[in-house]
């Protein structure tokens, strides 16, 4: 139960960090290439995922520890995504695909 919530929280935090990163033009270019993604849509989905991370962490650990855990977890995935953008940007491409303009 707690392990499941933790895993869900990590996935949700990762989704949030990747989407918010790709919603910036510079990062989109690095990860996907020329053109632009559906920035608004990525942001509209990215932020709720950040909130969901907090919700899952609080459900797991209660208000005090949960909030701390959520903050730390987002920090950790933000660092991870930043390092991916710096060293392995193409790994983010699969997430970018559905948000590429003209792919519909």
């Amino acid at each position: 139960m707690t392990l499941g919530l933790l895993m869900l929280a990590i996935v949700s935090a990762l989704a949030s960090a990747i989407l918010l990163a790709l919603s910036q033009e510079r990062n989109w270019r690095i990860a996907y290439g020329p053109g632009a993604g559906r920035r608004d849509r990525m942001r509209r989905i990215g932020w709720p995922f950040a909130l969901l991370t907090f919700a899952l962490c609080i459900a797991r650990d209660g208000a005090s520890f949960g909030t701390m855990l959520g903050l730390f977890m987002l920090a950790a995935v933000f660092v991870t995504v930043t390092l991916m953008l710096a060293f392995r940007p193409r790994w983010l491409r699969p997430v970018a695909l559905p948000f590429a303009l003209g792919s519909e």
């Binding site: 933790l6 918010l20 990163a21 910036q24 510079r26 990062n27 650990d61 209660g62 005090s64 520890f65 701390m68 855990l69 903050l71 730390f72 977890m73 920090a75 950790a76 933000f78 660092v79 995504v81 930043t82 390092l83 953008l85 710096a86 060293f87």
Partner: protein, 524 residues
Amino acid sequence: MADQPNTSFRPSMNWVHTWAGVVLGALLFIIFWMGTMSVFDREIDRWMQPQTRLASPAAPTTSYDSLLDIARAAEPGKQLTKLTIGTANTRAPFATIHATYADKTRRTLVVDTITNRLIPEPASLGGTGFLYPMHINLILPGVWGWWIVMFAAIAMLLLLVTGVIIHHKIFADFFTFRPEKKLRRSSLDLHNLSGTIFLPFHFLITFSGLMVFSGWYTSIPWYVAPASVGEPVAALINEADQYGHFRREAAGRPGGGVALAPLVQRAEAIWRVRHGTATPADYIDIDHIGDAQGYMAVRGNAPRRMVSDVDEIVFDLATGRIVKDSTPTTTRTVQKWLEGFHLVRFDHWLIRWFYFIGGLAGCLMIATGFVFWSVSRRKRDAQTQPLKVRFVEALTVAAVSGVILATCAYFVVNRMIPEGASPGGFPRFVIEVLTFFGAWLATAVHAGVRQASAWKDQAWVIAGLSVAAILLNWLTTGHHPIAAINRDLWAIVGMDSMLLLNAVVAIYAARRLGQSTLTVGDAP
């Protein structure tokens, strides 16, 4: 000090940020580094004090009365008057007893609570006895250390706030790291990245650190003020009142003698109901033992609550009645939440590791801030003010890689000198502390001589010392990482793997520094 540019708000804040950073950065790095080490201070204790690497007690011990007997047996023929007990827990699996006898003799006893046997008192200060005191008051005598650390905390808050103000695009920094760019740019990237992502943590950890001693800090002027003026105000804000510890005088006639264990269990049962979570006693203070006015104060700390020990129940030892039961007010709970947040005494390993990472991020932020400044200045000022640039660079190296190196040397020398040996007439713990400061001084001199190359040299030494520490621990205790895993000695596993990681990062840094003539901050 250069004059402030005659411009508007943001450039002024930039000026404050730069100068507060350059002047106090070295001090802040030391405090952050020692604080980061203190997150795992008990684990460092286990590593440096092998005789305390015991199995964690399955259930908290309840034989408090036998601890009383052990304290009596330690000084036969003397009357035991006062006893404090730090109870065993998962991170420190033994009870620490401070006993005071009628003739003012004091003894510190370490007791294995599973076998009820004495463990020889470790000849090492470890993490809790040295690294943690360095964090809170730099082990300076008197009030000076506390005062300096307080101003450093205020400066840190100031640096965080001004750092946010001088930033144009905070959010963009969240994902920007360009290792391929010039050192000046990539160090600024790292500075902004670690600063923004961990900003909430850094702000809270600094503010809560200030608040742990809040009452004390504002009362400093009244301690140094003339007594006639100072006294009444000191009474207004004195610690005894603020922290509310129970005291009463001895009656001078014999009495007491109630069994302790049931009382402690009663306190734990009251707290369990009050907080809805297990709250074991973690500190017990028994005074006037054998006297009619004898009492026992029991303090509890709930491992699953952020709020740190607000609970204190005092029992009368003649009757077993509760004389005082403190229920904290809202204000007090808020302060104790901040205190609990800072002291990390709760039991949540994931968050504890995140504290460690957040602390390292703080170290990285301070170090890269320094590197950015010196690289920017080197071009501009190398001709006009070579001494200033040289001085700040040496200071940076000594404060950053020097402190890391000295900490590694502290670990190595602990495993090199056998327990109980006293080379040159000094007990081992003195040698350890002398080694720390000696190594630190050496790095400062080395940095002054070798300048930019000092980073690379010291990174190699750090790598060497880290590996040596792991091997020496294996040789002297037989607990190589695999053996430690088999024996459930997770503190040792953690310590060894962090030393290994430290060595890898240091080697990486040293090699990169070997390729270019530029200086790069050594990520600890």
